[in-house]
Symmetry: C2
Subunit: 485 residues, 2 copies
């Protein structure tokens, strides 16, 4: 662990993999495309789950669990859905030693199996809204995989709701987008752009897909969560009608929304540095590490003081006390920096004499001496400062890297310049007027590899009277273009 | 929901299914053998998970996540393991539109994939012990399935630990058995017998399998959790050696242990009655339901008092306030009894006048009036009384149904008499001296369908000098026989 990791300026992608492996967040598995989430990575996921699960329950949702295996025929009931997912399916053909009559697919997402159950559970408006979330694993066969960012199997949550009216379903879609935005910004300290996806980028089976999009330090965008307004597509595919308050029969309106362990990849890439992981305090499994520093003579006194302090601080903070005598303080400092613990507390003989400790911030490296009696209060305020600083820093970075190129040549230069990673420059976000034509969108992708990440809220009004920066035709939308993960 | 459910005395198995379906704990799915866990069932599982997860962490374990799909060849590395699981495997043969070079099986349990990773992670005694748990879904193809008790896919946790010495691994195996016993008794209010399994009943690949076994109300045993000492079997199969403190190379010692959503089935069958579910307070998603009772004249005053009381009680208890005006109080009482909520609080106009409420216990049906100022304190003590009463009642039932038949004829009569369910009498537990011969064990199974659930701790000493009740030969073990789920 004391070995150096690749610098971001040398290779951003090697730096990313080094952090994941050396901080022991995840590992490659012998199963091609599948990863192992190691205890330190899983502890991060647990903290994300706790925060999200609380937010889902506060907005009225309950958890449930639906089968992993779905009859192949179910996926075919929604035409766009099967077209989108067919190339990514894992198929079970044998069970219990026998060939199955109908192959089963491992869920790539659960709309079809869930709506086959909603058909049983929904008869009347009294059964609505139905607000269910599932924490589960899903499998999507991938050719090129990257730890956390893209793997054949991943963990996620998927919300699936059913409503009486279009308006109510649309409100739910936007409410959950807002939950994701608040989670990303308040917990992950990661500012996100929100808006609606274009036809070419939306979920297979959705009427409208909304997303939160974050900017990574290499100036690529990362889609961190999606919320879909499904209209009546799945209700029609599975014939889910309900008796309205007026006594007529109507198809139910639907949403679905999800985030996955991909968020861990986003968290790493948003904040970490050349010394390793940087974790925002609210998601840190360990908030504080206490490292006693001593020689033989001072050992007993320092260790006793450290244990007393640890006992006290543990009542309020998630703290680890590192008393390992086989490694040097310097080695430990590097190790705990690699792991991303927000605050390091050093307690040495000199500190003990002066009745103080030294605090070191992971985000800035700043040190300060604090009297022992004031240390809990200072840690409390420092954790908030670090949380805020990480967000502010990421926001400033995003604003610096949000451009409004005024010509197609400028836009191409933005995405096609030469970057530090010896790849074409990722370029950040380009916010430009767009004519709304899929052909124009396709041209940008072909010439720059950038895609439309979202059409921000209010984009149509803002585009009025403007000219599409690519085609020169009248603009219909403001669009956020970026290269992405 | 107001419909009656089948009485236990009419058909115990119909009663069980009625409760699962009518209390909306689970539902059949269109995928043969797989079930859907509905929100009320999943909320029970969440409370079980929280308690168990805390106990696992208190004993030093961390959570992680390993791949769902395992190369078929991995299972074959441990001979007994593959023999045990081969008939139950679901096999993925196609992925991403192509036939796979090597088929992948969906994990029936994760020893093999986990030990293939431990091979990478364990080099030295410094890497030990390795104490990992996983919350996951597994698939075991089953011909005959029953909601919660036996299904093709189920949710569980599986602990997998690696140790320097045999003694340490054996201690871990027994520690986790004790965690399961404490969880069953302190949270589920379900007394369990513990001990070791015989050769014929142990886990495929284990040296020794320990289990907790509970008695259901129909006098059948249910295996509620297992803890396995795996010796060096998986370390040898995956060549996991470590450098000892003395510098030599040795194979690692292993354990694994698990409980599953089957516990929900056990919980239902241990305590519920002909009015529906009975849930021990510590696991109840809702501890208290408050039902205001009013007519038009009294509506406003009663509702306001109920809302005030609900607000206050929610600070301490998981409470639901049922203000639905479309159903009668009597219908609501039956409904909340069906759902198993431990305490019902009734607040009517007369109660309001007297500044009191009526409390009704789910376990005994007893009613009492309590002054509004004393209600929180009384609920607090009543929840503890109910938790204790459920355990005491289940323990008394088990003791009444634990027999020590002195002849093989008596033992056959115990298991082969005619029971209330028009099946052969389940008979309860028979604790008898056994000669230790698998042929004797097989004879009992053939003639009575009873199997050895466990050999209790200290069984060899207790058997000394006794005669096997089946064969008349000298006894080597005391054995607990029972018919089981
Ligand atoms: Zn438009
Ligand atoms: Zn023996």
């Amino acid at each position: 662990m004391a070995e150096q990791i690749t610098k971001r300026s040398t290779s951003y992608s090697d730096w990313y993999v080094d952090i994941v492996l050396r901080a022991q967040l995840a590992d490659y598995s012998p199963v091609k495309g599948s990863m192992v989430i190691r205890p330190r990575g899983y502890a991060l996921w647990e903290r994300m789950q706790q925060a999200l699960d609380r937010m889902f329950k506060e907005t009225g949702h309950s958890n449930a669990y639906f089968p992993l295996l779905i009859p192949e025929s179910f996926l075919k009931k929604e035409a766009e859905h099967v077209e989108g997912f067919a190339p990514e399916l894992a198929v079970v053909t044998h069970g219990g030693g026998q060939e199955l009559e109908e192959p089963l697919v491992i869920r790539p997402t659960s709309e079809t199996i869930i709506w086959s159950m909603y058909k049983k559970w929904i008869q009347s408006y009294r059964d609505l809204p139905l607000l269910i979330n599932q924490w589960a694993n899903v499998v999507r066969w991938e050719k090129r995989t990257r730890l956390f960012l893209r793997s054949t199997e991943f963990l996620w949550q998927e919300g699936h709701t059913a409503h009486e009216t279009e308006q109510e379903a649309r409100d739910e879609t936007l409410q959950m987008l807002d939950v994701y935005k608040r989670f990303a910004e308040e917990y992950m300290a990661m500012p996100v752009r929100t808006g609606v996806k274009t036809e070419s980028e939306k979920f297979a089976g959705a009427v409208d897909t909304y997303a939160i999009e974050a900017l990574m330090q290499d100036r690529r965008a990362l889609q961190a969560g999606t919320s879909h307004f499904l209209g009546q597509n799945f209700a029609k595919a599975f014939d889910v009608q309900y008796q309205t308050r007026e006594g007529s029969l109507e198809y139910v309106w639907a949403t679905s929304w999800g985030v996955s362990t991909r968020l861990i990849g986003a968290l790493i890439m948003a904040h970490s540095d050349d010394s390793g992981l940087v974790i925002p305090p609210r998601l840190a499994p360990t908030e504080v590490v206490l490292i006693p520093i001593f020689r033989n003579k001072t050992k007993e006194a320092v260790l006793e003081a450290a244990r007393t302090l640890a006992r006290e601080l543990r009542q309020e903070f998630r703290l680890e006390l590192d008393t390992d005598e086989n490694s040097s303080p310097g080695w430990k400092f590097a190790e705990w920096e690699m792991r991303g613990v927000p605050i390091r507390v050093e307690l040495g003989p000199r500190d003990l004499e002066n009745n103080q400790v030294t605090l070191v911030r992971r985000d800035t490296g700043e040190k300060e001496s604090v009297s022992i009696t004031a240390v809990a209060g200072r840690i409390r305020s420092l954790l908030e400062e670090i949380q805020k600083n990480l967000f502010d820093r990421a926001l400033a970075f995003r604003e610096e890297n949000t451009h409004r190129p005024e010509t197609w040549e400028d836009m191409k230069a933005l995405f096609n310049g030469t970057g530090s990673d010896d790849q074409a420059a990722p370029g950040g976000f380009a916010l430009v007027p767009w004519d709304g034509d899929p052909a124009t969108e396709a041209l940008v992708k072909e010439e720059t590899k950038a895609t439309i990440r979202v059409l921000p809220f209010g984009n149509e009004e803002e585009a009025r009277g403007k000219t599409c920066v690519i085609s020169g035709k009248p603009a219909r939308h403001m669009a956020v273009f970026a290269k992405s993960y």
